[in-house]
Structures are given as structure tokens and as C-alpha cells.
Symmetry: C2
């Protein structure tokens, strides 16, 4: 018998590429403002604006677009042209319309695990944006539950598990963010598998759990997950 | 025994004022662009931009802000100043931080009905924004379930009822939008109570159901709901 009643996955940068959409848009943004400021200074001020706006705007592409516009106004001392403002809005529209590109091993791992465990998708950010990505990914049918939350706090995981009547010790979460997918889950006494992604937004950075933390695993890619789960279930 | 397993409420402009936040922001927006265009023309172009952007941005204040910015760039042929762009972003922040003002009769009706029926809140729009309003309203604890959906389509109501294992004929929805709260619910064979609000966003306008439509009721304010439900349950 399995140790798990539910295996949950983060989506962005765990199942499909996401951060690089932001990185690419930010590169275009820096080219746009290149005549006014250095790339390093633009990066720094944009991040400050994003952090300052987080309480107002939350996560997601629309929040990012508004923070880019605000940063552009500020860094050009109001001299930004209407054309460039429109170019920033168009960057956001391109991001929202972008194809969903699955990471290596996603398709076969998810379809295989769905035959063994009930699967859940737990993602944060703008609901509409996430729903569109799930639809475009073609993976929706493998997940018994799809949860889009405003923030992946310990409290939100706790109420999510209560709502689904799942005990923490029978829940495992897989994701690429220590801050959002791993640490709050371990804090509840559940299991967590960390799969680092090549790029991490500064806001998501966190210290890994202490070595030997029960329930914590790190793997290199999703293709290694089935063997890991099998090993845990046999142990 | 009651005819209903669940009474659901829309939130914006059903339990608390919302549309007037948009109307007020739009009035400030028209003052901002007053030197360039007439108020009527600004209204018209903003609505067109919002409709065009709906597929990209969905509903909510951030979407509204991006559409205002895009409209401002267009209507000023790019001459809008950085300062005015920042003023538009600040309008959005003020909207997001605004107090939640309950409609008359909301507090006593909801607290009373919660002692008789399981209540659900069904609202659409930006999740973070809606969560903050629910928290600020002080009403959260009266609702057994809170559902924030990206769109109030017939399909979304159907899957919501399936998820909660509620039969349509034992579900009643209360709301101020014929398009979002009433027609899709009636189409499923459920009950719907329409409470018109003073202002309706053009996008939400729809024809009322044919007279004599089973399960459809219209009342003037939330204070009339308990007597209506009592009457139905006794019938």
C-alpha cells in the first residue's frame, strides 16, 4: 500500500517553463529603457517596484506589467513615450498568449504517475492565466484536483489539506521553489521533493532545509520522480 | 425540510458596493484626459479596449488599469505624460486598497441565513483582490464555501455543483448580474434570485429571463430574501 493519498505538483517551472518568459520580457524591457539607464540599475529598480507592489497587485503577468510601467515612468523621470508604454503592454500580452512548453520528462512522468496516485496541481498566481496554461499544457486530465491559490503559505496548504481531508503525513508536494513548494509543506509534517530549475525569481529564493530533514528529497529532474516514490513506498 | 442544500451569493454589488469604485476611477481617468478628448469618447474607447483585452487580461482591477493605460496612450496619440500614467496606476492602487462597504441589509441577512442554510460565496475576478475584499467585509465566517472563479459560465457552475455534489434543483444563487449570476444558473435547472444594483457594467447587461421562468425571482434588496426563501420552502 502506498504511503501517499495525494501527490501534488507545482506547475510553473516544475511541469512547464515559465520564469524564462519573465526573463525574456525583462530583457526586452531593458532594451527599451537602454537609452536612459544601465541594465543592472533597471533590474534592481524593477525588483524593488515589484516587491513594493506585491501587497497591491499580487503575482502574475498583469502585476509584472504594471510594475514594469511604473518602473519605466520612474527611471525616465516621466519622459517615457506613449509608444514605449504600449510596447510594455504588448510584452504582457505576448507573455499571456505564449505557448506552454513542457519541461523534459513532464508528459511521461505525469501520465505514468496518474495511473498509480491521485494527482493534484497546486499553483499560485493569476487564476485566468493559470487556467489558460493548464488548458494549453494538455495535462489537465491527469490531475484529479486543480488548486489555484493566491499564495503558497503554510496556512493555505493547511486549509487545502483539510478541505480535501488529507493527512499531512500522506501528502507529498513536488516543486521548484523552496520558499513556496518545499518549506511550508515540510513545516506541516508532509513530504516534499525539490527539483531545482535553472532560473529562480529572487523573491522565491530561500535556504534549503537542514540536511537530514525528514520527508525532504531533492532530485535533478522529473524523470527521477517515479523511482523515488517507488523507493519510499517500499521502504 | 428545506428545498435547498446550498444558497449561493455573488459578492460584488450583491453583498458590497463595487461598480462604483470603477465608476469613480473612470471619472478621474476622464478628468485626466479631459484636455485631449470628450468624456463620452473616452468612455467609449475605454470600453472597446476593455472588451478587446478581456481574452488577454480577464476581469479585475489590474486588467482595468492596463486597459486605462492603453486607452490613454491611444487617445493622446502617445502624448500622455509619465506623470499621468503614474496617476492611472495610483487609481488602481487606491481601488485595491479601498474599504469594503456592505450594501444595506447585507450583514443581518447573511448572518441570519447562515443559521438556516449552508451558504456559499461565488465570485469572479482576480483571486487576490477578492480574497482581500472577503477578509475586509467581515462576512467570511458565514460562508461554508468560498469559490473564486475566472468566469461565471454555465460550465463553471456545472462543475462547481458537481464538485460539491449538489443537485441543481437544490441550489439557489443570489446576484445582481443577469448575465453571470442568473441566466447560467437557470439554464442548469437551478434557482436564481435577481437583485438589481443601481449601476451595471455594460459587459454584464443581458435580457431578463422570460416571464414565468420556473425558479426565477426578482427582489429589490437583500432584506427581502429571507421571506422569499421561507415562502419557497413552505410552498
Amino acid at each position: 500500500m502506498s504511503k501517499f493519498d495525494l501527490i501534488a505538483f507545482d506547475a510553473d517551472d516544475t511541469l512547464w517553463h515559465n520564469e524564462r518568459l519573465y526573463t525574456e520580457a525583462q530583457a526586452s524591457f531593458k532594451r527599451l529603457l537602454g537609452q536612459y539607464q544601465s541594465p543592472q540599475w533597471i533590474d534592481q529598480r524593477l525588483y524593488q517596484t515589484e516587491m513594493h507592489n506585491l501587497e497591491h497587485f499580487g503575482y502574475g503577468i498583469k502585476a509584472f506589467a504594471l510594475s514594469m510601467i511604473e518602473t519605466a515612468v520612474e527611471l525616465t523621470e516621466g519622459r517615457i513615450s506613449g509608444k514605449d508604454i504600449q510596447a510594455i503592454i504588448n510584452l504582457a500580452k505576448e507573455m499571456l498568449a505564449a505557448d506552454v512548453e513542457l519541461l523534459d520528462h513532464t508528459a511521461e512522468t505525469v501520465s505514468h504517475l496518474a495511473t498509480i496516485y491521485p494527482l493534484m496541481l497546486v499553483t499560485k498566481g493569476d487564476m485566468r492565466d493559470q487556467e489558460m496554461k493548464i488548458a494549453r499544457s494538455g495535462l489537465g486530465s491527469y490531475f484529479r484536483h486543480i488548486e489555484i491559490v493566491s499564495d503558497k503559505s503554510r496556512e493555505n496548504y493547511k486549509s487545502l489539506l483539510q478541505r480535501h481531508r488529507i493527512k499531512p503525513e500522506r501528502f507529498l508536494m513536488v516543486g521548484n521553489s523552496l520558499r513556496s513548494d518545499i518549506l511550508p509543506v515540510l513545516a506541516l509534517g508532509a513530504w516534499a521533493v525539490y527539483i531545482p530549475y535553472a532560473m529562480t525569481w529572487a523573491h522565491e529564493l530561500a535556504e534549503p532545509p537542514p540536511s537530514g530533514q525528514p520527508g525532504y528529497y531533492e532530485i535533478e529532474h522529473l524523470g527521477q520522480l517515479p523511482a523515488l516514490l517507488e523507493g519510499i513506498d517500499r521502504s
